[in-house]
Symmetry: none
């Protein structure tokens, strides 16, 4: 099973709404179970450089089925996955990417957010994930 | 001036609605005046290979401010722009990409559609453009 | 549903056996429903340049759910999909790539073969597909 | 001399068997003396992101004729090969890639494994190497 467009748009919309509430300008990307882009928006005046980062965060979260920040904790100098970022055409391993699971806990896609601090990015991504909880 | 997210989403929504009416499964991308992705959706079960093509069509239409098919007419063997597709990380020059203009005729972005015949792709892209006419 | 490793290996083995019978040296690649490489072999002394081509053929067949040669028929100069090969990191659109379907006709992956004439490549790919027929 | 397909498949099969015994889902790649992919499998439900990593580990081990982890020890900040990962289209320098040698100790290829912890990845790669010892 993979995320549907309807689910992906619901996640994007919730993350967009959260961004407006927080007063931040985000790029928001959702990928499906195959790590392929399914829905994306870039808010007006969001950082241009965050476009690619948001998509790479979503892909990274699906590539390894864990939040991007968890990978970043292992890819530091001396860590077991040092410089894993060089794989797959470039990973982003700081917070802002989170897997999306179905009711049975199976990963069906992921969301990636970029445009503010990593804490803000993660909070907005989390709002996208929560929008699908219980569906 | 560049297309706003609100405008881009209106174009995507109109193109999506047109796709449903036509019974086709499309990838739909809108880029802004800087040729940067602004809004994107991939319909359930749309061709995987059309994801990249839809984005390249939108970018190509904005890169040269003309419909992608018009460029394709010039890039044929013997044509004045032969193999221009090798530039810019890969262009797509068959129909399905159309510039989006403001009320004064200035290009503010472009839409790219891929997932069916080039005639269908162009018709869906045109529906997206029309959604913004008069705004 | 996506092809399993067991199915992918059965397809590769059948294609390998066919290659031996034909006296050709092939690169044989199978991708899953997400167009991700699932099984691959390169026969001793097969053309080095055919490695990448076999993988691109398998991906291309899955990207558009049709034999690669069918796309090549449309991507010729003057054709409706002229130069589509510039998308998706490079497509290969001559024969040798074929989608793999389940018993219900749904595409679950694809096989790509390269190393001889396109007629030979296609025949070997077809042997791989047939190995899964009725399973 | 380079690894034969028969040898590469024996290494992959042994690594696959070891993965099953360990209860891990791996991507397993073998490259030849020219660092070209010779045999590859991806186990069902293995991490998508590990596909590319397994191939890069095998290539990296052959590029420098040493286990990938040994290179990672030198590529840390302040190390003599700091950020060598930027070369060759992306290296992976944490454990899981091991050179394969013939009876005379000459490197004839390499195996790369990814899908679990780096300790597990290395153990599975080692099982692949051992399958060819004494041949």
């Amino acid at each position: 099973m993979s995320i549907t467009l309807e689910q992906a748009q619901a996640a994007v919309q919730a993350a967009h709404q959260k961004s407006i509430e927080m007063g931040v300008k985000m790029n928001i990307a959702v990928v499906d179970a195959g790590a392929n882009l399914t829905a994306f928006i870039r808010m007006d005046d969001a950082w241009l450089g965050s476009l690619d980062i948001s998509i790479k965060k979503a892909k990274t979260a699906r590539f390894f089925d864990m939040p991007t920040g968890a990978i970043g904790g292992l890819s530091q100098p001396g860590g077991s996955l040092y410089n894993i970022e060089h794989s797959n055409g470039g990973l982003i391993t700081f917070p802002g990417g989170i897997p999306i699971k179905d009711a049975q806990g199976k990963v069906i896609g992921a969301i990636g957010v970029s445009g503010s601090t990593v804490e803000d990015d993660h909070a907005v991504a989390e709002a996208g994930v929560q929008a699908l909880a219980g569906r």
